[in-house]
Symmetry: C2
C-alpha cells in the first residue's frame, strides 16, 4: 500500500545520469567483475571466458514510431543495439531473451515481421534466441532484449583504461542516425527525394561486433564504449570511468556528405549532430597512437578524433581555428 | 516502412499459447539444452553447471496498480516471479538485470522504494543486481527483470519427465493470490475488516527456491513447473511437455480457510480460484509416490493432488462423489 508521505521530486529533476547514480548507490557494490555502469555486466565463471549480460528496451513513441519503422526493422534494431553493448566490451553475443509488451489489437503480421527482424540480426551475429516473455499492455509496444555474450578473460575491454596520450578514435561515421531521425519528422517536398528518402528511413545500425572483437583480441583497445547516446555523452562516460580528460578535434569528426547536407537542410550544425545526435552505434576507442596502423592491418577503419589528456583538463573541443571550448555531455538523456 | 499489405488478424485471435507456438516456429530450434517453452532457458557451458536464463515483465494496470501495490512490493514481486522460474528448474538464482520504463513525472521515492524491494528479494535468494536499463515512457510503469541462474547439470529438472503413475504434488496452498486480487477490486465494508485487509493486500510471493533446489539435488522430481498462470494452465503445460495426462482430486487441492472464505464472499467456487486464479508461485512436481516421504524428510511439505495417467486419457478432475470431468486450461492468458 502507498503509505502517506510527503511528495518527493520527479525523477526528471535528477536527470538520467543522476538517477543511475542514485540506483547504483542503493544497489551497492557487487562481487561481479563489472557491474552497473558499463555497457554490459561482466560475470566471472569457471573456464577462460567471462559471461557478459546486457539489456536494452525499445518503447514505441520514445525510440520508434510504427509509421516510420517497420516491425522487421524494429526487430533488427533491438538485437543490434544490444550486440553493440557486447561489442564495446570486445565480446561475442551468444544468446537472446525477447521480452515483449504488446497491445491486444496488434496484428499477427507485426509479430511475424518483428521476429523475422530479430532473427535477421541474430543470425548476422551468431546469436540464438533462447527464451523470453509475452505480456499484454494497454500502452506502447515495448521490446526488451537481454543479450548474453562471452569474452576470453584476458581480452576484456571496459570503459576504464584510457591512458593520457592515447588517441581517441571511432569506427564509421557520426550523426547520420540523428539526421535521419530529425528529417523523418519533416514533410520533405524537396526535389532531392531519393536522398531525403534515404535519410528519413531509419538507419538500421549494424553493431561493430567484428571490430570490437578484433581490437580486443589484439589487445589494441585500452578502453572502449559504444556511441549510443551521442559522442559527447559517451565520451563523458569513458572519461569518467578512466579518470581522464579529452581534447576532440572538431575538423576530425567523421561525417558523410549526406549528414552535412541534412544538417544544412535543418539549419543545424553538422558537428552538433555528430556530437549529440546519438544512435550511431559506432565504437569509441582509446588506443595508443603507434597502434593505429595495427588496427588498420586488421581491416578496422578507425578515425582519430582527439587525444586523451589529464582528468583535470576536462573535456574540450578544438575548432579548426585552434580555439578550444568545453565539451559538455549533450547527448540523449531519458530524464 | 510499413508496406501496404492486407490486414491480418489481431494477436488475440491466436491466444497466448497460439502466439507462443507461432513465435517458436519462426525462431526454430536452437542448440541450447532447453529453449523457448520451459520456465527458463538452459544453456550449456564448460564446467559442471548449466546457465539458466529467464525474463518476466510487470506492466502497470495489467500486473499491478500503484494504488494497491507499493513500489517496494512491486520490486520484491519482480524478483520473486523470476526466481520462481529458476526454482522450477531446480536451480539457484544468481544475477539480475533490471530494465525499467518510467514516466518522467514519477517520484524519486518510487524508484528508491522499488530498488529497496528489488534488493530485499534479491538478498533473500542470494541474487546480485549487476546491470539494467532505464528508459522514459508515456505509458505504464514497466519493470522487466532478467534473472540468470545455475544448476548442476545432472540435477536439471524440466517440464518433461513426468511418468505414468507419478504423483502430482504442490508446495504451499493455491488460490489465495487470486482471492486477494479479486477482493482488492471490491469496496469491502465487511465487519471482518482485518481479514479483508489481509486478503486485499497483494500477497508478495516467496519463490520456492530452497524447495526446488532440494528436490532437484535429491533427484526426487521427475518434472517440475511453477504455478504462475493458474494450476489448470500450468498442469496443461507440464502434461504437454511430458506427453502425459492427469487426474486431479478436487478434494485434495490445498486451500486456506481464508481463501475459502474469500471465495464465499465473492460467490465464487474456491476450487475455481485454486485452478485458475494464478500468481500462486508454488511448485507443481511429478514425483514417484514412494518418494513423497523422502521429500518430507527434506522438510518439503508437498500436498499430493493427483496422479499422472497416459496422454490419451487427457486432463481430468475427480470430484468427491467420484465423478470425473475434463480439466481445461482456464488460467491466465494474456491474449
Amino acid at each position: 500500500m502507498n503509505e502517506p508521505r510527503p511528495p518527493t521530486p520527479p525523477i526528471t529533476s535528477l536527470g538520467e545520469l543522476g538517477l543511475i547514480e542514485r540506483i547504483a548507490r542503493i544497489v551497492g557494490s557487487t562481487s561481479v567483475v563489472v557491474g552497473i555502469g558499463d555497457d554490459a555486466a561482466v560475470i566471472d565463471r569457471p573456464g577462460d571466458a567471462y559471461l557478459l549480460a546486457t539489456v536494452d528496451m525499445l518503447v514505441e513513441n520514445v525510440h520508434f514510431r510504427t509509421v516510420s519503422m517497420g516491425a522487421g526493422e524494429l526487430g533488427q534494431r533491438a538485437i543490434e543495439i544490444n550486440a553493440s553493448d557486447i561489442a564495446a566490451m570486445g565480446g561475442a553475443p551468444d544468446y537472446a531473451l525477447i521480452s515483449l509488451a504488446l497491445p491486444p489489437h496488434l496484428e499477427v503480421a507485426f509479430v511475424d515481421e518483428l521476429f523475422e527482424g530479430l532473427l535477421t540480426s541474430s543470425s548476422r551475429h551468431g546469436v540464438q534466441i533462447v527464451g523470453g516473455n509475452l505480456t499484454r499492455t494497454a500502452g506502447p509496444i515495448t521490446v526488451d532484449v537481454t543479450l548474453l555474450g562471452s569474452i576470453t578473460k584476458s581480452d576484456l575491454v571496459t570503459r576504464r583504461g584510457a591512458c593520457i596520450g592515447d588517441v581517441l578514435a571511432v569506427t564509421g561515421t557520426l550523426g547520420e542516425a540523428a539526421a535521419a531521425r530529425i528529417l523523418g519528422g519533416l514533410d520533405s517536398q524537396s526535389d532531392e527525394s531519393e536522398l531525403a528518402d534515404r535519410l528519413t528511413r531509419p538507419v538500421v545500425p549494424h553493431a561493430r561486433v567484428a571490430e570490437g572483437q578484433a581490437l580486443a583480441r589484439a589487445h589494441l583497445a585500452h578502453a572502449m564504449i559504444d556511441i549510443s547516446d551521442g559522442l559527447s555523452t559517451d565520451l563523458w562516460h569513458l572519461c569518467e570511468a578512466s579518470e581522464v580528460g579529452v581534447v576532440v578535434e572538431e575538423a576530425a569528426l567523421p561525417m558523410t556528405s549526406r549528414t552535412r547536407w541534412a544538417a544544412s537542410q535543418l539549419s543545424r550544425s553538422a558537428v552538433e549532430l555528430a556530437l549529440s545526435g546519438g544512435e550511431d552505434y559506432e565504437l569509441l576507442v582509446a588506443i595508443a597512437g603507434a597502434d593505429l596502423p595495427k588496427a588498420r592491418q586488421l581491416g578496422i577503419d578507425l578515425t582519430p578524433i582527439g587525444r586523451v589528456v589529464p582528468h583535470s583538463n576536462g573535456l574540450s573541443m578544438r575548432s579548426a581555428d585552434g580555439s578550444e571550448r568545453e565539451l559538455r555531455a549533450l547527448g540523449w538523456s531519458h530524464f
